[in-house]
């Protein structure tokens, strides 16, 4: 069992979700995040005082997946999230030792 985590541009969430459903993903968890990276921030101005903002809004996605589904899932995320411009984000994969569905107590692959 793996956990695929992705940080993407917020407005790409639906495309990513759709393309994940396209490869059979049945669930995912989303959190709002802010990201700092190569992408340049912007300036805010209040009463003439300027502030450089370097943390930009991002959306963080977690998908639990069977090992052999990971490749498709990563591809699906990239397909949905890529704009080609800087700041598209990252995907990383962690290994999961145990998974469980709270409602039924099912473990492992059955938990998804």
């Amino acid at each position: 069992m793996k956990l695929v985590v992705a940080v993407i541009k917020p407005f790409k969430l639906d495309e990513v979700k759709a393309s994940l459903e396209g490869v059979g993903v049945q669930g995912l968890t989303v959190t709002d995040a802010r990201g700092f990276g190569r992408q340049r921030g912007h300036t805010e101005v209040y009463r003439g005082a300027e502030y450089q903002v370097e943390l930009l809004p991002k959306t963080r996605i977690e998908v639990l997946a069977d090992d052999d589904a990971v490749e498709d899932i990563v591809k699906a995320i990239v397909d949905g999230a890529r704009t080609g411009s800087i700041g598209d984000g990252k995907v990383w994969v962690l290994s999961v030792e145990q998974t469980l569905r709270i409602r039924t107590g099912e473990m492992g692959g059955d938990a998804l």
């Binding site: 407005f11 921030g41 805010e44 209040y46 943390l55 809004p57 700041g87």
Partner: protein, 429 residues
């Protein structure tokens, strides 16, 4: 103090609209209404009042006698305001002139450049609002001479802004994601508060149009309130019919629809007539706002469905419910035995307004588009107008902590300057 109430409607409108847009556009939307008060407050004094209410020139426009409010004094003006100081009348009219272009902003919300908005509003005030106001309200104005009734601005304010809004929605085009993404209101409590302020201020708008705190004002007051209440019920009923639920936005929208529809009629109909007009407005407007999905224009905040449709409805229903029993300066509609004469005149006023306002607004928008460009870039639209047009964010709830020293404007920012002001909206992709 009626004038103050009308002025207060505009911040109310700012909230009404601001709550309906996405969080990343809230400031830009609120700004457009707020800035309009300032802009029109200056332009009206300089020249627009004179064009609208200066001595008649061929029934079409006013003369330049009142430039800079020259000769607009503390004495009543026999032609314009026999009962109140001329200057009081001029300032009362000022706010009508200010809220009208502000209403239009609902149509091109979430995608217009601030510069384009400001230029358009300026041109529109002089070339569309001032003439139409003259036609309808100024002594010698041809619609006024024709005998069409407009108590407090159904044609000049609502139809005028509504048809201009239609032109705007068509010329500027759809918001990115319209009909594809979920573009939903971000803070309806603001919208309800805005509707409440509008309802409150509208008493100044309608009752104030009696230009005296007398029985007529009271009649206009009760007509206004009854129509509004009925329209709230009408819109809620329509919502209920569709999904067995009422909606808060529906109630707020219904209130505005009712206020719009009763505006031209307030001083000419009784409570029951007002109730009928309001109920009709609530139902008709609730259905009208869905037109845009079929017709395919993106009137972001439904200015057309509420103000154009509601305004027309009210103007025409005067022809049915008006009665000299409530205002001898008025006229008798169908039910009061006045036949179809009045209805005909009202129809002429509606048609004239539609033709004039739509076509001229359309042309102006094309011009503005050529001069400064109407629309922000895709990246700016996605980031939101607050950041891209004003370099501000609407909400910053998270403790950013840390950050950089503010740089006195203009100076270059320090070399490494981290800051973590929360920008909860949009993305700078």
């Amino acid at each position: 103090m009626s004038a103050a109430l009308v002025m207060f409607m505009i911040p109310g409108l700012a909230l009404f609209y601001g709550g309906m847009v996405r969080a990343k556009n809230v400031l830009a939307t609120v700004m457009q209404s707020f800035f309009t008060i300032g802009l029109v407050s200056v332009l009206w004094v300089l020249a627009a009042y004179s064009l609208a209410f200066g001595p008649d020139k061929g029934g079409l426009i006013g003369g330049l006698d009142y430039l800079g409010f020259a000769g607009v004094g503390q004495q009543p003006n026999p032609d314009l305001s026999p009962t109140i100081p001329h200057i009081a009348y001029a300032v009362f009219q000022l706010f009508f002139a200010a809220i009208t272009p502000a209403l239009i902003t609902g149509a091109f919300a979430e995608r217009i450049k601030f510069s384009a908005f400001a230029l358009f509003t300026t041109l529109w005030l002089f070339l569309v609002y001032a003439p139409l106001a003259h036609w309808v309200w100024a002594p010698g104005g041809w619609l006024r001479e024709l005998g069409a009734l407009d108590f407090a601005g159904g044609t000049v304010v609502h139809m005028n802004s509504g048809f201009a809004a239609l032109a705007a929605a068509i010329v500027i085009g759809k918001r990115r994601g319209f009909l594809k993404e979920a573009i939903v209101p971000h803070n309806l409590t603001l919208t309800i508060l805005g509707a409440g302020i509008l309802w409150f201020g509208w008493f100044g708008f309608n009752a104030g149009s009696a230009l005296a705190a007398n029985g007529l004002a009271a009649t206009a007051f009760i007509a206004t309130n009854t129509a509004t209440g009925a329209a709230v019920l009408g819109w809620c009923l329509t919502d209920y019919m569709r999904r067995r639920k009422t909606t808060t936005l529906g109630a707020a929208s219904g209130a505005v629809a009712g206020l719009v529809a009763i505006t031209p009629a307030a001083g000419f109909v009784g409570p029951m007539g007002a109730m009928a007009i309001g109920l009709a407005a609530g139902i008709v407007c609730a259905l009208a706002v869905s037109l845009k999905f079929k017709a395919g224009y993106d009137d972001a905040l439904d200015v057309v469905g509420v103000h154009a449709v509601g305004g027309m409805l009210g103007a025409l229903l005067i022809g049915i419910f008006a009665s000299t029993g409530f205002n001898e300066l008025g006229a008798d509609g169908l039910l009061a035995g006045g036949g179809l004469a009045l209805l005909g005149k009202q129809a002429v006023a509606v048609a004239a307004t539609l033709a004039f306002s739509f076509s001229l607004s359309f042309a102006l928008l094309k011009v503005v588009d050529l001069v400064v460009g109407l629309r922000v870039t895709e990246e700016e639209e996605r980031a939101g107008l607050d950041i891209s047009q004003h370099e501000e964010v609407g909400y910053a709830f998270a403790e950013g902590g840390g950050g950089m020293a503010p740089v006195p404007a203009g100076h270059a920012p320090a070399e490494r300057a981290p800051a973590t002001v929360r920008v909860p909206q949009g993305d700078l992709g």
